[in-house]
């Protein structure tokens, strides 16, 4: 039954991508508006999907990568809808919708039936730890999207390409500032997620650091984002360098989230029996 909502959400993220691409090509705003509504529907469906699964297993429903990705898509959708209204940046959907579609696709491939987590993981720390990590992830995803737009726009302006295609996108300064905002807000969430994870591990396993691959890669990602903030605040980096750095950090983030789970063994693999 809950699967219907997953497929609706997945389908609508695909449709949203299609709408935004058409908007990009035809330069007609109404396609972007369609895309906006489609993302709203997709987000609601995914949220319902998670809620139903939560009810079935009786606790916060993030126990594997599949559910994690769905949660990420929900958060991305919410952030997008907020950003869209606040800064009138619907065109950002052109990059955000495919990203959400990509995450949904992987979630589809890794789809698993709802199953309660190991007893050891069933704790009030789960929503706090996972929740804040994923809010951070969603904000970093947005930073990734804005960075890509920045790099493209920067490239086009340097090559003296200035046309209506480019005019659809926000100014370079706006992109740079929003990218920075996403990291500034995402970073504390990620930090909080890691701290709560450590505290939880201390309670549950008796050690706050266990050399788990996920822990190591998360720390690397955390340090990368800390470095970005440092470069921006202390060294005054702006624009292209920050954008490329953000893209790189996000790719590492995706690896530590998805790749590590399947390449390495560790207790973060979620794969409860």
């Amino acid at each position: 039954m809950e699967n219907i909502f997953f497929y609706i959400g997945f389908g609508f993220f695909c449709i949203a991508t299609f709408f935004f691409v058409i908007q990009l090509i035809t330069l007609k705003d109404n396609w972007g508006n369609f895309g906006n509504y489609t993302i709203l529907i997709a987000t609601i469906s995914f949220a319902l999907y998670l809620i139903i699964r939560g009810v079935i297993i009786g606790h916060f429903p993030v126990t594997n990568v599949h559910e994690g990705l769905v949660l990420l898509c929900v958060l991305l959708g919410i952030l997008f809808l907020i950003f869209f209204h606040k800064y009138n940046l619907k065109i950002v959907g052109v990059f955000l919708a495919p990203l959400a579609t990509f995450f949904s696709l992987i979630a589809f491939i890794l789809k698993k039936p709802a199953m309660p987590a190991l007893d050891i993981l069933q704790s009030f720390w789960l929503p706090i730890h996972v929740g804040s990590i994923f809010i951070g992830n969603a904000l970093f995803s947005l930073s990734f999207v804005f960075s890509i737009v920045y790099v493209i726009e920067n490239f086009r302006l340097k090559r003296k390409k200035f046309d209506n295609f480019g005019k659809q996108f926000p100014s370079l300064t706006t992109l740079d500032n929003i990218n920075y905002l996403c990291i500034v807000y995402g970073f504390p969430f990620m930090t909080l997620g890691m701290i709560t994870g450590a505290v939880w591990a201390q309670y549950a396993i008796g050690s706050y650091w266990n050399n788990d691959p996920k822990e190591i890669w998360s720390l690397i990602t955390w340090m990368l984002y800390a470095a970005i903030l440092h470069c921006r605040l202390i060294s005054g980096w702006r624009g292209k360098k920050i954008a490329i750095f953000s893209i790189f950090a996000f790719l590492v983030l995706v690896f530590s989230f998805i790749g590590v789970t399947y390449l390495f063994k560790g207790y973060h693999i979620f794969r409860g029996t």
């Binding site: 003296k160 209506n164 100014s171 300064t173 980096w237 624009g239």
Partner: protein, 428 residues
């Protein structure tokens, strides 16, 4: 009765002719209108005179209007008629309406899609109205023309492409900085185009302009014009650190702004973006400056390329505008055709017949105890009422062609009985 256009424009006449034929003062305009009004068969007229075109819009029923108007033109302006005729164009009916709509929406302008002409046409119309030379047809024609212009402006993107170098520069600045409200600019050297660009920047929010020049007096002079701050030429590399936008147009034979200077500036600005506009030929700014991060350099050719591309876009939009214009021409012609006696008579009668039928049907439902024969009597009665009621108006309309202002009456009847839109079927 037909709508006619006579005129010349930048497309058919050189400026020497245009300036001779221009109605350059209000007095001349008034005299021109008076002369035209005196001509036989000319009912209404409007004169549009701008630096790019002189046109007269007429409503007349004279077959030889072309010749008589050309005579007025040549005698009034003292231009040889033969020479004048080689530049004038004459248009009637559909062609004339199309021309007027195109002019109104800027599709005939020197810079395609330029909105200025709409305002000029409004002025010309207002002036003619003030001199009582407009009338029933020109009023409708002009109001339609203005609404066409508005449709073209809102339904196509013809106005959304900047087609002057200084506007493109401003748009680029906005693309880089988002807002120019808190930005500082520097003008190095002088020149018409550079000053124009500076003016556009100011009108778009730039608060402070530093003016550098080889001669300090000239810098002071320009600075006072822009409410800016003068600075000596030697100081400008130091000032680079404070400004976001640089417009350079000096006569220097070599690059005066080098990557080294900009690197230093951008460093002390903590990488806040800079935008360089190089209007000078030979160029003032080393193109290698563009390779620095957060720095954008556009020279005159880059800007011109954007302008050219935008002009092409405008042409594409103009094709969409043509469709709108054709639509409006058809609507306007339908309106004109509807203004003849026969169709109005038919639709007036149909209007009353419809009322009769409706009321009769209503009554039949309520008066079910009456017989068929009773209803025949009632119908005859209603027919008599309709016929009697329409008798006088019908006679009046049939005799209308003998009266002045036929169209006013016809239009009033259409309005009174809300007969709009029905003429379509009854044209034959």
């Amino acid at each position: 009765m037909k709508i006619c256009v006579v005129g010349l424009s930048h497309k058919t006449a050189p400026v020497e002719i245009r300036e001779k034929v221009a109605f350059s003062s209000q007095q001349k305009l008034e005299e021109g209108i008076m002369l035209l009004k005196k001509l036989d068969g000319i009912k209404e007229c409007i004169i549009l005179s701008t630096c790019n075109r002189v046109e007269v819009y007429l409503v007349c029923n004279d077959e030889n209007w072309q010749d008589s108007v050309a005579n007025v033109f040549s005698s009034f302006h003292g231009v040889d008629k033969k020479e004048l005729l080689s530049h004038l164009y004459f248009k009637e009916n559909d062609d004339a309406i199309k021309h007027i709509f195109k002019v109104a929406s800027g599709l005939d302008s020197m810079v395609l899609g330029e909105p200025q002409i709409t305002g000029q046409l409004k002025e010309a119309y207002g002036f003619a109205a003030g001199k009582n030379s407009t009338g029933f047809f020109t009023n409708k024609l002009m109001h339609t023309a203005f609404s066409v212009a508005k449709r073209v402006r809102t339904e196509t993107k013809i106005g959304s492409y900047a087609v002057s170098i200084s506007y493109v520069a401003v748009e680029l600045a906005k693309k880089i900085f988002e807002t120019l409200e808190d930005k500082k600019a520097m003008l190095i050297g002088a020149g018409e185009m550079a000053e124009l660009a500076a003016k556009h920047l100011i009108s778009n929010g730039v608060k402070e302009i530093i003016v550098a020049n080889r001669t300090f007096e000239r810098a002071c002079m320009l600075a006072s014009e822009f409410n800016g701050i003068p600075c000596s030429f030697e100081e400008f590399p130091e000032k680079l650190k404070q400004v976001d936008i640089v417009i350079s147009s000096t006569g220097a034979p070599t690059f005066i702004i080098t990557p080294e200077k900009v690197k230093e500036a951008i460093k002390s600005r903590r990488n806040k973006p800079m935008f360089f506009i190089d209007i000078a030929v030979p160029r003032d700014i080393d193109p290698k400056v563009n390779d620095l991060d957060n720095v954008f350099v556009y020279d005159i050719d880059d800007l011109q390329n954007v302008v050219d591309a935008n002009l092409k876009e405008r042409q594409r939009e103009a094709e969409k505008a043509e469709l709108i214009i054709n639509e409006e021409i058809k609507a306007f012609k339908d309106w004109m055709n509807s203004l003849s006696v026969k169709p109005i008579l038919v639709s007036l009668r149909r209007h009353f017949e419809n009322i009769k039928e409706n009321e009769l049907n209503e009554a039949k439902k309520k008066l079910s105890h009456l017989t068929e024969d009773d209803f025949k009597v009632i119908e005859a009665l209603l027919n008599a009422v309709v016929n009697k009621a329409l008798h006088k108006p019908t006679i009046f309309l049939k005799n209308l062609s003998n009266k002045e202002n036929t169209y006013l009456y016809l239009d009033a009847i259409k309005e009174l009985f809300d007969l709009k839109g029905e003429h379509g079927e009854e044209k034959n």
